[in-house]
């Protein structure tokens, strides 16, 4: 063979594997094998046969090396080239480990009942942990996919007197921030809209579009897959109409054809030229709705452009300069905010700027729940380990004969411990494998049940990190439940063992250990049950709260008319559609509104006319523009004054209805009907308008039942309309059956305009409670599991105790003890350990339940009723678990008992 033609193409042996051969021979053996492979001695190079033989020879060499070296050492041989002794011992060590594993497997297979139960118990514990961890990993732990995500921050406007309220940003403010700051690389502006895409031969479709400033893509370090992104010119309305496609959109609509550049697409009736495509790996998720935008438009193209300084509709993103700290940036922005407040007192008064790490924005406050569940599920695993440790200890008692013989034959204690520990690890590994299978189903179940507003759900899965976690957890589990029994079992007094009654003292030691484990199990179960109980109470109290409206059988959907449609035409279309919807069979009543309390909150500042503006106070309120039927459809009562009648403009004044909270707060002693109020909202001409209050409506809880009622101002739709409107429809039948008829009705009037955001009010409301329900579900599941395991543990411990005490019980009965007193004795002994566990559990729950407090609703974390109820539940369970062995004990025939030793 021409040596110049030979290449190295043998299979590569990973470093750690080749380290199983000692250094001095490693290269020779690997080199020889490679040569044999390359010269075809093992078969055709590249064939499966040759590769198999290669590996087989390698592995056999390792084995042979072990034996040879062990032999070398045994013969007292010392190589002239000084093999380190450690290396030889290491090979022998590996060999003995292998023997341990083989023995452990054989032993476990001999007792299939024990093995199956133990493996199942542990697999349940491991799989629940892995499932929850995979959620935590995908949602919380994994860093955001952008370069240096810690430097990304979101900027918000916040009212100074309500520092935790975050308000969207206005366009002119953003421009000023961009110019004035010195702490950010750049500040970008964006918001998402749904636009109508018209394609040839297809129905109009709604696409989520991100409208962003030119700095947006560079901030996220995104690179176009084709074409280019926006330039600074496109931040102004005068530029050409351009659009950037998302990678997924480009793939599905244009088959990734580079000719897509230079083509145009039609959005909301206007053509935009395609200039670029994003790289799919970094496509941003719009964090509040967890969707990836399909298209991107430059901010200059925003047909819904709000140039007013008071229109808070945008989101802002910035990147800190290298080395800049968050605190410094915050201080600078505070100064800028103060400057702007002075400059523009009408709009910017008392508005500050909040600099928030982007990660916090994306994750929101799901972290609390996530880590809570992680902690809870760790308790479940610990209980499972305690149970299996109990089982192993019980087996240990029956194995002490075997252990004694081994000791007599010369096994030292360390070796014994190692061998027992190997058994536990083998058990744990089997459980780990089974656990991974359970986790597959578990992850599917979690993804189905998890609340929709949890971010990054798509990233939850069984990936490398999760698998490594499982492996580590399995090993820790094996050591956890194996160590205690291994230590105990090996500490046997040899001569005592061999004697007939010699089991007694060891049995006592084991027994105490098992009771201790029982106490631990009961304590943890207490904690979990109390947690579940608190959540149960919270959720039930939550559901009792009146949200202020009636969500039953109400369907909502949104409709956006083109922005360039004249206002008159727009209003007429919207009302005609409303009438047609009202005429549909199955519809009880329908109304229009500009926004829905509970879905999207828009707020505005306001001032009471005739009252001086108090310094440091900039009252804000939610608002919506509604049609007269709104209050009926929603089920909101008009408590004073009157509702709208659709003819508000006839008097030439602006009419508003305010909520009860607002009325009570600002006119506590007088009638607010007839008073004047100024709203900061600028719609058309930029000047605030004065309105007269014509009625007071009942309070509504925005964002779900858990929120306190917020002040709301209702404008009349006859005086204010927008291009976008929401229709709310109260149906006589199941609202979901009305979706198609409504769609058809809209299409018959407006064929090119699709409807979107279709949902029922019940869905929206349940969505706000979803997190609590999920935590409740999880905690209930975990605590039920734990209760069952604890009950099983109690049963087994008491059962074994009875078995051991047969002689003693027989003695007692022979001496005159009654059945019932034996019953009481056994149950009492079981309850003793349980009581200690309950005590510890109560204390633990007391301390730990404050972690739950952010999720609790109108329940204190130390609510004594729940604690007592749970304690009683566990006591009852313990009694039931002790019953069977206790009744068995009471039915012992004294004569038989006394006869057997």
């Amino acid at each position: 063979m021409n040596p110049h033609q030979v290449q190295y193409d043998a299979p590569i042996i990973p470093g750690w594997l080749s380290h199983l051969l000692p250094l001095s021979h490693r290269h020779q053996v690997v080199g020889d094998l490679s040569e044999e492979y390359a010269t075809g001695a093992l078969g055709q190079p590249g064939s499966i046969g040759a590769q198999t033989r290669f590996w087989w020879q390698f592995l056999r060499s390792i084995v042979a090396f072990n034996f040879q070296h062990a032999r070398n050492q045994a013969l007292g041989y010392r190589n002239r080239r000084r093999q380190p002794n450690i290396r030889i011992r290491e090979q022998a060590f590996l060999e003995s480990i292998r023997m341990d594993i083989r023995f452990a497997v054989r032993t476990l297979l001999k007792r299939p009942g024990f093995t199956v139960v133990a493996v199942l118990t542990l697999a349940l514990g491991i799989s629940t942990n892995t499932t929850i961890f995979s959620v935590v990993e995908g949602v919380v732990l994994r860093p955001l996919p952008y370069e240096e995500p810690e430097a990304l921050v979101g900027l918000w406007e916040t009212p100074i007197d309500e520092p935790f309220t975050r308000s969207a940003v206005t366009f002119p403010n953003w421009r000023d921030w961009q110019e004035l700051n010195s702490v950010f690389e750049d500040v970008a502006l964006y918001h998402s809209v749904d636009m109508t895409l018209l394609s040839e031969g297809e129905l109009p479709a709604k696409v989520t579009t991100l409208i962003c400033s030119s700095g947006y893509f560079p901030l996220l370090r995104m690179v176009p897959a084709a074409g280019r992104f926006f330039t600074a010119e496109e931040d102004t309305p005068e530029a050409e109409r351009t659009v950037v496609l998302s990678y997924a959109f480009w793939q599905s609509r244009f088959d990734s054809n580079p000719d897509a550049l230079r083509q145009t697409i039609s959005l909301d009736g206007t053509d935009y030229r395609i200039i670029g495509v994003t790289d799919g790996s970094l496509d941003p998720t719009i964090f509040e709705i967890d969707t990836v935008p399909q298209l991107f438009l430059p901010i200059g193209m925003d047909t819904n452009w709000h140039p007013q300084r008071a229109a808070h509709v945008y989101f802002s993103l910035a990147r800190l300069l290298t080395g800049m700290s968050l605190e410094t940036a915050q201080m600078e922005m505070d100064a800028i905010a103060a400057g702007l407040a002075e400059q523009y007192p009408d709009e910017n008064v008392d508005m500050g700027i909040a600099v928030v790490p982007f990660v916090d924005q994306v994750l929101g406050d799901v972290r609390t729940s996530m880590f809570l569940l992680l902690g809870a599920v760790a308790l479940v695993l610990l209980i499972a380990c305690a149970n299996v440790a109990n089982m192993v200890l019980a087996r240990g008692i029956s194995r002490c004969g075997e252990v004694a013989v081994r000791c007599a034959l010369g096994a030292d204690r360390r070796r014994l411990i190692r061998q027992l520990l190997t058994e536990s690890l083998v058990l744990a590994m089997a459980a780990g494998l089974l656990g991974i299978i359970f986790t597959f189903w578990g992850i599917d179940a979690v993804i189905a049940l998890i609340p929709d507003d949890v971010p990054r759900i798509a990233e939850i899965g069984l990936n490398q990190t999760v698998l490594i976690f499982t492996l580590v957890l399995t090993i820790i589990t094996g050591i956890l439940f194996g160590l205690l029994p291994a230590l105990r079992s090996s500490r046997s007094n040899l001569s005592e063992m061999m004697k007939e009654g010699g089991r007694t003292s060891t049995v006592q030691i084991q027994h105490r250990a098992r009771r201790l484990l029982l106490v631990v199990e009961v304590a943890f179960t207490m904690v979990l049950l109390i947690g579940a109980g608190l959540m149960l109470r919270s959720v039930s109290r939550l559901l009792d709260v009146d949200p202020g409206y009636n969500p039953e059988n109400v369907l909502t959907f949104g409709l956006d008319l083109p922005g360039d449609m004249p206002a008159v035409e727009r209003e007429s279309l919207q009302s005609v559609l409303l009438q047609r919807i009202q005429a549909l069979g199955g519809v009880e009543e329908a109304a229009m509104t500009s926004t829905l309390p509970i879905v999207r909150n828009v707020n505005t500042s306001f001032r009471i006319s005739g009252r001086p503006r108090e310094p440091g106070q900039s009252p804000r309120t939610y608002y919506a523009s509604v049609s007269p039927e709104f209050f009926r459809v929603f089920g909101i009562p008009i408590e004073e004054g009157r509702g709208f009648d659709g003819y508000e403009s006839r008097d030439g004044i602006g009419a508003v209805i305010i909520s009860r909270t607002l009325a009570d707060q600002y006119w506590p002693d007088e009638d607010s009907v007839g008073q004047q109020i100024t709203i900061g909202l600028t719609i058309d001409d930029g000047s605030p308008e004065e309105y007269t209050i014509v009625g007071i409506a009942g309070d509504v809880r925005h964002n779900g039942r858990a929120q306190k009622t917020s002040p709301t101002i209702y404008l009349s739709s006859s005086q204010h309309t927008w291009w976008g409107v929401l229709y709310i429809v109260r149906t006589r039948v199941n609202p979901l059956t009305m979706v198609d008829p409504l769609r058809r009705e809209v299409a018959s009037l407006l064929p090119k305009i699709p409807i979107y955001d279709i949902g029922t009010l019940t869905e929206h409301l349940t969505g706000t409670e979803a997190e609590r329900r999920f935590v409740l579900l999880a905690l209930t599941l975990f605590s039920t599991l734990s209760l069952i395991m604890a009950a099983a543990g109690i049963y087994s411990v008491i059962s074994y105790a009875v078995n051991d005490k047969v002689h003693e019980i027989g003695m007692r009965m022979a001496l005159g003890a009654s059945r019932s007193s034996i019953l009481r004795m056994v149950i009492g002994s079981g309850l003793g350990a349980t009581a200690v566990g309950i005590g510890i559990g109560l204390a633990g729950a007391f301390g730990l339940s404050r972690f739950l407090s952010s999720l609790l609703f109108e329940v204190e974390s130390t609510n004594p009723i729940i604690y007592v109820v749970v304690a009683m539940l566990i006591t009852g369970t313990a009694v039931v678990a002790c019953w069977v062995p206790a009744s068995r004990a009471s039915r012992i025939d004294p004569a038989t008992a006394l006869r057997c030793k």
């Binding site: 290269h27 020779q28 053996v29 080199g31 020889d32 001695a41 084995v63």
Partner: protein, 115 residues
């Protein structure tokens, strides 16, 4: 004779193989030689420690060749017989022959163990 000079069975085979293959005896061809001539499948992992022992006793010595691409850039280690090794082989052979003497007609061996 001193017990030190007597060879274990496998050591004997390896040493004989080295003798046959000198001066280019190395892991691969020692293995092949033993396998062809005795039908016994041995692994490299068994050969090298044995060679170590033999070298320790001074029966063989080793030297390194240049690395080759075939071996992934690793060098070959060649083994040569030392006088002490020849002496040991001889000694073992004499021992065996002396015990075998008289049985030549009973057991006839022709070219290998294939029969």
């Amino acid at each position: 004779m001193s017990r030190q000079n007597s060879l274990g069975e496998f050591e004997h085979l390896v040493l004989l193989a080295v003798m046959r293959l000198e001066p280019t005896a190395y892991g691969v061809n020692i293995r092949q030689e033993i396998e062809e001539r005795t039908g016994r499948k041995v692994t490299l992992g068994a050969i090298y420690p044995t060679l170590d022992r033999l070298e320790g006793k001074g029966y063989v010595s080793s030297s390194f060749s240049k690395p080759t691409a075939e071996r992934g850039g690793r060098a070959k280690r060649f083994f040569q017989l030392e006088p002490a090794g020849i002496e040991a082989i001889n000694h073992t052979r004499k021992m065996l022959l002396s015990l075998w003497s008289g049985f030549e007609t009973v057991f006839s061996i022709e070219g290998g163990v294939s029969q």
